[in-house]
Amino acid sequence: MKKILLISFLIISSAFTLSAQDIDPMALLQGLAETPKDEPVIATFKATRLINQQTIEVGGTRSLDFRIHHHFGPFNSGAYDFWGIDGGASIRLGLEYSYNGRLQFGLGRTSYEKQIDGFLKYRLLRQSKSGSMPISVTLFSGAYRNGVNGLKISGVDKFNYASDRLSFVQQIIIARKIDEKLSIQITPTIVHYNLVENLADNNDAYFLGIAGRYKISNRTAITYEYGAKLLNYSESKYYDSMGIGLDIETGGHVFQMFLTNSFGMTENQTFARTSSSWADRGFRLGFNVSRMFTL
């Protein structure tokens, strides 16, 4: 543990010395050449999201990330709805800020379930180039509020208490950039819903997120993610969330196109409340757009 702390301290301090020398390009180059060999691995993933899942990445120092997530309707809605493009879309708008490049907080609004979310993300460990730290670890904690009014079950209001609208997600995100092209990530996840519907339902649900990306060129990568349910948690029929996509990087933008069977897009919705399945052709087209601003 001491060693890890020492290394992370070294990494932080080296990052600070780097940023202090950005006036003269030559000085910067020299600074780069002189930095110790044990520098952190960068760009394990292109953005803070892979498809729906969080990645270990957080925004850089003083960065404001404006994100648009959009999911269309399901493919199996047929020709009448142009295979989902016509209707029933969901969208999330988010603003995510990081001051020091390690801690990030974000706010978002999702149209599905009229949900407001807030999250904190902290880069605990960074994989180092020398291999002394083989993995990157990021902690994630999110809170979500369902804003739908007038929901009734058998004529009784579903949300009798304000607290019943809330749900929470805690994650430990672990990733490794195996080589220049391939990165993999696993994410033990707890999803907690304050209110569940059926007697046998569990408020806590446990998942293992599995994700990876493979670069096919400098600016594009193929992405894949799966959220495996570890224990049954609901009598209602929910499916594991799976997505396959394409990352395209253009300047300050990261554009992500994908197919996923999740209608929601935040962690609680995708892991625990995905109600359409790939087997029924319930997958849908979606995209994320990320625009980074430096403040």
Binding site: P74, D86, S90, L120, N160, D164, L166, V196
Partner: protein, 128 residues
């Protein structure tokens, strides 16, 4: 290390609003929805179909399927005149022949409600 602790404390504060509520436990005297849709029973429009439409289809005064919306599902005349039985059914079973309802919900209405409406249509859309 201090930093890490402060993060953990912030993260833990999220947990303080944590409840373990269960809708069925909060409402123990709620009548269990009995799915009485054996093909021999006659479905009552007023008692069985109307509650489903009211809860699921936004039939209120300014709703998507109110009486003056042009997509009326608020009364028997509205339901029978606006949509054919096949289209009504397609929209809730999501077979691809009609726009999926409820719009934008991401999930179908419950199986019992679908069965009830299907049976009501098959029995000739009675106004009883």
């Amino acid at each position: 290390m201090k930093k890490v602790f402060s993060i953990l404390i912030i993260a833990a504060s999220f947990l303080s609003a944590c409840y373990y509520d269960n809708f069925r436990e909060l409402n123990p005297f709620l009548e269990e929805a009995v799915c009485d849709t054996a093909s021999t029973t006659t479905i009552s429009f007023a008692a069985q179909v109307v509650p489903i439409l009211q809860n699921q289809c936004s039939t209120g005064s300014a709703g998507c399927h109110s009486s003056n919306s042009g997509r009326d599902l608020s009364s028997h005349t509205g339901v029978t005149n606006t949509y054919s039985g096949a289209k009504l059914l397609s929209s809730i079973i999501w077979d691809g022949n009609a726009s999926q309802m409820p719009k934008g919900s991401g999930a179908k209405i419950d199986d019992c409600s679908i069965k009830t409406i299907e049976l009501w249509i098959n029995q000739g859309k009675l106004n009883n």
